[in-house]
Every structure is written in structure tokens, then in C-alpha cells.
Symmetry: C2
């Protein structure tokens, strides 16, 4: 069990629900674009949004963005400690900084004091790609789990020395198993809450897989207080994937879960199309329903007995069923609508 910290109106750690994060790709200096993206990802379930703050103009833009944003915002800052002060002044709920590149202990102390006064959280952390040369050398030249933990601990100590304790930590590697090992080691070492992520995970397929494997292993073990699925893709995709991972790992659910068979030579109808239509039609329901879309009438309803609701394709038409029992039949073009009607009844 990690300790509980505060990020805006959210609690992180200490048994609070795992919070879903993402990061905008819009230019933070473009207030309208950044805000539109913050709202879009919030609508999909993002609970914390991080924004890059590369210069003073971006730090200044944060004020307007914070005022309108429906979720706590975190400013991501490198190299320039004054940008961190600017972001705090703009009212961000948290900072992501690296004390190692913010200009030394004295400047770190000043940022921590300002964050403490503002009630903001600070995330520090280690990334397999940015460990110091000395630390790397001490760990055989490789960014091992122990090296990541040692780097994060040193950063935590720098903050603690200033009296600051509203801290979360991340230990990220682009290697999935190294990320897993580092997070486990952290959990044995410290009770500061962990932000989980696989860094530079890649495009939508390999990034989703790497994050699912790494975060899935850790979340299923009960580790992780916030997560981000890092993808070379729009942040909306990161949020969708994050929720799928949380559900698969048994940690949190949101909206309709669609289970659908992969189809085989026995399937005689347009299953892929119907599954997509069902997903679209039920996307607005946020009650946790389990809905099956199955390719054959013979096995389908039985195989999807655990589903609250489902459809199974026959030749020319299909069957709507609930918990394995038939409710009625409809033609292919009516099936998804009929299922939606039943889902709305259930959701009420």
C-alpha cells in the first residue's frame, strides 16, 4: 500500500482508484488547441492531463488553460526552473520535473518550496534513456531496475530535504521487463505512489502491446497508482488503451465491454461490421455492461453466457440474447439497433 498524495482534487495512492493520465500533443502556447485536446481526452476518461512547457510563452498560456480545464493539469518541465515557478503561478495541480536537469539542489529547493506553498504535487522519476553517466557506470553501464530506483530515490531525497513530500515517482524503461522489475523494486523500497508507463513504447500496435504487457503485469499485482499509455499516436488513443488495460487487469471498469468472437469458417454474416456498429452505438453508455457479438447461433449464446446481452449471427438474420437466453431475432441491418434498445433498457 502506497501513501496517499494530493493532485488538485484527486487523491493518488493509498488505495485510491488508479488514475488515467495522458499528455497533450497540441502546442501549449495555442490555448484553444490545448484546451480542446484536454476536453477531448477528459471526455474519454483522462483524469490527469500533462502539458509540455518548453518556454515562458507556454508557461503563461497555462493560466487560461487551467482556468477552463475539467481535470487537474501537470506541467512537464525540463532545464528551466523558472518555468516551473511560472507554471505553479498559473495554477497547475502538479509538476513533472527532473531535479537532475533543473539546475541543481538550490533551484530544486526553490521549486519545491513554491510547489508546497501552492499545494501542488511533484512527479520525479527516472527514465532509462536519461540516467547520469556516473550512475550508469555504477550499474554496469546499463539502465537496470536498480539504477532506475537509485536515480528516483536520489531525486526524492532532494525534495524531502526541503520538507516536500507530495511526491509521486515514475521509473520508465523502453524495455518492458525492465520497467516491471523497476516498479516492483520501488514498491519494496518506498511507499511513494507510482506512476506507471513504458517509455517510447512506439506506434499504436507495438505501443499498446508493450504498455499492456508491462502495465498489465504490474496492475494485476496491485501495483500502480496512476498510469499513462505512451503512444506515437493522438492522446485520445492513449486514454482508450489505458482504460482497456485497467479493465483487463481487473483494476477499474468504464462503459460497455464488448466481447466478440474472432470468426472462423463457420461464421456466415458480417461480424466485423456488426461488432464495430455495436461498439459505436453503445459508446455513450457508461454503465459497465458486458455485451457479446458472436458469429454463430449454435455456440454463440452459450459461449457468451457471462454476457449481460449479446447477438449471434445466423444465415440471413441473427439472435439477440441475454445471459445465454434468446430474446428474439432480427435481420442483419436491424440487429445492432435491436441490441442497443435492450442495452438502454438494462442500463436504466
Amino acid at each position: 500500500m502506497t501513501r496517499s498524495i494530493r493532485l488538485g482534487r484527486l487523491r493518488i495512492g493509498g488505495g485510491a482508484p488508479v488514475a488515467v493520465q495522458t499528455m497533450t500533443t497540441a502546442d501549449t502556447r495555442d490555448v484553444a488547441a490545448a484546451l480542446a485536446q484536454v476536453r477531448a481526452v477528459h471526455a474519454l476518461g483522462a483524469e490527469i492531463v500533462r502539458l509540455a512547457v518548453p518556454d515562458e510563452k507556454a508557461a503563461a498560456a497555462l493560466g487560461e488553460i487551467v482556468a477552463e480545464a475539467p481535470v487537474p493539469l501537470v506541467a512537464d518541465i525540463h532545464f528551466d526552473w523558472r518555468l516551473a515557478l511560472g507554471a505553479l503561478k498559473a495554477g497547475v495541480a502538479g509538476l513533472r520535473i527532473n531535479p537532475g536537469n533543473i539546475g541543481g539542489p538550490e533551484r530544486t529547493r526553490r521549486v519545491a518550496e513554491a510547489a508546497g506553498a501552492a499545494g501542488a504535487a511533484i512527479r520525479v522519476g527516472a527514465n532509462s534513456g536519461s540516467l547520469g553517466k556516473k550512475l550508469l557506470a555504477a550499474h554496469g553501464g546499463r539502465p537496470t531496475a536498480a539504477a532506475l530506483v537509485e536515480s528516483a530515490l536520489a531525486q526524492v531525497r532532494l525534495l524531502e530535504e526541503t520538507g516536500f513530500r507530495n511526491i509521486k515517482v515514475s521509473l520508465k524503461s523502453s524495455n518492458v521487463l525492465e520497467t516491471v522489475a523497476a516498479a516492483r523494486l520501488w514498491a519494496r523500497t518506498s511507499d511513494y505512489p507510482q506512476h506507471l508507463g513504458v517509455t517510447e513504447a512506439g506506434d499504436i500496435l507495438s505501443g499498446t502491446v508493450k504498455s499492456s504487457v508491462g502495465l498489465g503485469i504490474l496492475l494485476a499485482e496491485g501495483l500502480g497508482d496512476t498510469i499513462r499509455v505512451s503512444l506515437t499516436a493522438p492522446p485520445e488513443e492513449e486514454v482508450r488503451a489505458a482504460w482497456e488495460i485497467l479493465r483487463a487487469a481487473g483494476r477499474r471498469s468504464r462503459g460497455v465491454e464488448i466481447i466478440s468472437c474472432p470468426t472462423c469458417g463457420r461464421c456466415e454474416g458480417p461480424l466485423f461490421e456488426l461488432a464495430a456498429e455495436v461498439k459505436k452505438r453503445l459508446a455513450h453508455i457508461d454503465k459497465p455492461l458486458k455485451v457479446a457479438v458472436m458469429g454463430c447461433v449454435v455456440n454463440g449464446p452459450g459461449e457468451a453466457r457471462e454476457a449481460d446481452l449479446g447477438l449471434a449471427l445466423g444465415r440471413g438474420d441473427g439472435l439477440i440474447f441475454a445471459r445465454g437466453r434468446p430474446l428474439g431475432r432480427a435481420g442483419y441491418d436491424q440487429l445492432a439497433a435491436a441490441l442497443e434498445k435492450e442495452a438502454l433498457k438494462l442500463a436504466e
Copy 2:
């Protein structure tokens, strides 16, 4: 460690590499279409391909497909034991049957004898959706891990009673954590090799996530002898995802691994497009290279120090680097080609 069994010219279990499976969606009766799909998935790394055999015409078509297929084929048969005999006669390397629905112990015995004579393997298994009513009742009405294992064990015993032992087993649930629990329990119960899969996993996003979490957990623990990622999507996608999962879980690698940053407000070039172009250009290289595509020149090369090769975007042009060290610069439209050139040199 599982025991080793034979599937065509493949060894499964006993420490052999985890084999990647998929299942055709083409109609098995359409020989040309089925063969085209078998070849397409083989080109992407499928090592075992399963085909549904719903009727005698499909069983008859198998002969021609087997003769031309570049991988061992498995016939997936339900209800009609004679189709299993037909598939064996056609020369398939394995059968996927469910002794519970193939017509009783006597017919199961005849199928097992024919498989034994043909040197074919049989996969039996339990699926959360198709457990018997009695068994379910004995497990509190739910398809628990223990219920799945008990069902699979009963099927294995039916085969063993005929002297047949060239068996692999699957225990599939549409619930990820139940699949994980069942596979772990099997590994403590029996040494027959396991085929891993999350059943009815869903569309490309949720299916990939559920399979990545479930299979990732098990593969990282050293479990699993063959895998299938079951998606409501073309089988090519299943094979791509399977290889990504194997790599993320540290079990097997194939081709170029692209790590790329998610971009942020600091990124000043067309990173998503470049990552996609790099992926396409390097798709034909099957040497295991690690290639980074990074959004900024300042952090990029250092953060991707572990990469064999990479590019990092600056304003208007980008940097090619190898293991963190710069090799040269090129304009955006030349970058991917320049990287490909270096990759080809390295691959040689």
C-alpha cells in the same frame, strides 16, 4: 517445464520456442482463398494455422490446402467426428476437437486412434463459454480456473485412455485474470504443453489489450508453448500482435523493433508520419534491430542510447544517430531513407 509434443515438423513444449498460431477467416471450402490467407499469415510469422472444418466439403478441401501450405495446419472440428477422420486423411498436422461434443468416448477413441496412426497432434481444451452444466454447478455456477482445469483434465484422460499422448491443452476465458489463473493452475497440475489465448477478446484495440495483458503475464512467467491472439479482425493482425507480445514479454523477437516517443509540445516535426514511414521501410529486415524515432534533438539521441540506430527531429531537419552518437543530418523528406540505408548496413 512442459513435455515435448510434435505438430507436423514443429516441436511444441519442452523448451521449444513459443509457436505463433492464428486461424483463417476465409471459407475453408474455397481452397484458393484459404491458401492465400495461410501464405499471408505465414509471411508475417504464423507458424501454425488453424482452419474451421464445418462440413465434408471443407474436410475434402483440406487435402489441397495441406499440400501447398508452408506451415503445419490444424483442423478445428465440432460435433462431427467423421470430419476429424476426414481431416486426418487430408494430412493435417493436428486437430482441435472437444471430446465433449464429438459424440462420446467411443468416437473420441476412434479419432484418437486415427490421429495416432497419422502422427497428428490433438488439442483439447476448455472454454469459459462451453463448460458442461454439471461441471459448472460443481464450481458454483461460474467458469472458474478450477472448473476449466477440471474440464481439460477430463478430456485429456479420455484421450490417454486410448493410449494417445500427443496432446496440447488450452484453457480459455473471455476474462483475462481467469485465463491467467487457469493457465497457472494447469502448469501446477500437468506437464502437457499449453496453448494460450484469451477467448472472444474483442476488436483490435480491446482484443490486443486483453491478449497482451493475459498472455504477457503468463509468458513473462515462462508459461505458454503456443499462443494465439484472438481478434475480431483479419488474422494478419493477430500474427502481428502475437509477435509484439512475445517480444514485450521477453520470449522471442522477430524483425526491427521501433521505439518512438509519444511527442509533446517540444516536438517540432512530423514525427507520427516519420515513424510510420520508418516502420514501412524497415519491415523487410528480419534481423532483430532496435530503431528509435524521437521527437527532439536535445533529449532524443541520449534517451535512445540503447537503440542500434535512430533519428531525432530538429527544426527543419533531423539527426541520424547510432547508440546515442550522431552520424549526420538530413532534411525531413530524406531522413527515413537515410535511416534505412544505415539499417541495411547494420543488418548485413
